[in-house]
Symmetry: C2
Subunit: 350 residues, 2 copies
Amino acid sequence: MPKPTQDDANAPKLTINDIAALAGVSKKTVSRVINQSPLLNQATREKVEAVIRDTGYTPNPQARALALGRNFLIGLVYDNPNQQMILNMQRGALEALHDTEFELVIRPVDRGSAKVMDDIRSFIVRQRLYGVIILPPLSENDAIARICSEEGCRYVRMGSAVLDDPEHMVVSNDREAVAEAVRHLIQQGHKRIGLIAGPHGFRSAKERREGFELALSEAGISLPRSLIADGQYTFESGVSACESLLDLSPRPTAIFASNDEMAAGVLYAARLRGIEVPDQLSIIGFDDTPITSRVWPPLTTVRWPIVAMGRAAALKLIGTAIGEGADVSEPSTFTSTLIRRASVAPPPQG
Amino acid sequence: MPKPTQDDANAPKLTINDIAALAGVSKKTVSRVINQSPLLNQATREKVEAVIRDTGYTPNPQARALALGRNFLIGLVYDNPNQQMILNMQRGALEALHDTEFELVIRPVDRGSAKVMDDIRSFIVRQRLYGVIILPPLSENDAIARICSEEGCRYVRMGSAVLDDPEHMVVSNDREAVAEAVRHLIQQGHKRIGLIAGPHGFRSAKERREGFELALSEAGISLPRSLIADGQYTFESGVSACESLLDLSPRPTAIFASNDEMAAGVLYAARLRGIEVPDQLSIIGFDDTPITSRVWPPLTTVRWPIVAMGRAAALKLIGTAIGEGADVSEPSTFTSTLIRRASVAPPPQG
DNA sequence: CTCCGATCTGACACCGGTGTCCAAAACGGA
DNA sequence: TCCGTTTTGGACACCGGTGTCAGATCGGAG
């Protein structure tokens, strides 16, 4: 049926013209009500609003998108970091978007591919996105911010440190949070503490490493290069990085892993060698993903408030649209907190 | 700038009229090329296609959506099951949608809320979705299928068993997969095998339970009601269900948990009581989520091919659109396979 | 009572595609 | 060569909103 039947019992398919007719005004006036135009007689507005309420009319988003040159879609662009993080970001963003006219469109891309930037640009342009949320490590690339500006698309960059355009950022203070965690290890008496760093090119990896180094230097503990192992934020990389640390002699009495996946890998590697956690080795991770409480012993970790950050990012994008333009122009900073579980204890005697 | 500048260096913003002019035909002819209309001169078609290729023109989705009354968006509707499953579904669907004109819009809803159905309907209607993928347990509700039909929206239901409308389903054969897993336990010599069932109202829970019962009855093993504990597909429910099973005397020598989260809970509970896995207790889970290989010992589980199912679901929706209408009209069935790790061993002597 | 400016309102074109329908072109047969 | 039939192409209206701008309305001042 090419022509939509007007008699669909369930779908009246109201148009703006119907509303205009029912309210006895022109469609343009209805449009003004919908778009909250200020130059409108209060009585007229109320009359139209009443009709809209009674009929349950909602404007056709496609038509608006065409006329406005902008859709009511928020894009979530990410590469391939932590799965759990993506899910939590989605959760947060969806919470903010719930009961608004916006929808969330997810878009994984392949950092590494030569045409990532073109992909992202065409995604934004084609869909006429209202705004995009960019996840790390992609968010650290200024080219994306430039593309968004050029295409007139709002954007928010998630990150671990404020970059060049603060008003578009939602950040967590990873450095201080990690320093806090490492201070906790030091307080317990640890002096030989290993670090499993995140991959090069990730700002979060850099920040976390700096936090680690900060806490150690504060306490006057020297940090031989050998106590730093490279990881890729994956479980497997955590296992092998841990193995190289455990090969040291004397071996570290505690290990800070730059994320939970790798911390789980540390635990696994320790068990493979029959090393008791936390009695012979203390572990701290980062993220507070579910895995930390499912392994044995449950892992002490840093809780990264990613859901809240996702919510803030989405709000920042649509804030002006829903009339909450509060702190939209400043960077939003979130602080992570240490969650103490059972993977930390004082170092073994001797 | 209300009026889009035509001089944007980077964004030529081609319209169908430009293409028509360049190719020396009318816009309608260009439209015919785009929509693969069969009544068109081959030479003309090629000429237009060449221009499109050269200019990199892509039609404005919003305008098409308005004219066609249908958007190029695929909705992913889910309640709140397994997080990992959602992620994998997304992965699969996105793979299928990659390099097509379709985008994926995710939409969690609240089963339980009185107006779920209205929410879903308005989501479909408002966005003029091309199609929706419905995840379990929501997919088991026939009302959703009815809504989709009424609104003329394609849909695919993911599930653990073929329901009333097979052509709209992508299913896995959980029953047989679980029976297979339990047969494996029986072969190892287990006779007292506990089941941690999934929540009532989930078809998957029912199928998995039936598979469990099937394998036992095949082997002539009786199943006292006490060996079946209720779970909610969550880690915590797995812990407490396991505790109730371990309180039995004699206690089971093996436990099948209806998903991995609960299986991880079983492992945790066993450890709390100092029960060795697998020497004193064997465990099998279901899903093959990452957690199975991160805990100690790694869990034997049933690999649920959810990524492939997600891909199939998306393909089923867009298949006709991209000219691959192969097996679109039949239900697609996927088989799960047993993954043997280290949580199963013969029962302890005596 | 009339006139004026400030406020509202509505007719109309437009966003960028698609469906309809008819005219023009191409082709084959008499 | 001419005509009828089948392709192919194009003018026009339309999808459902929004921007523009001129005209209508209203209240207050002269």
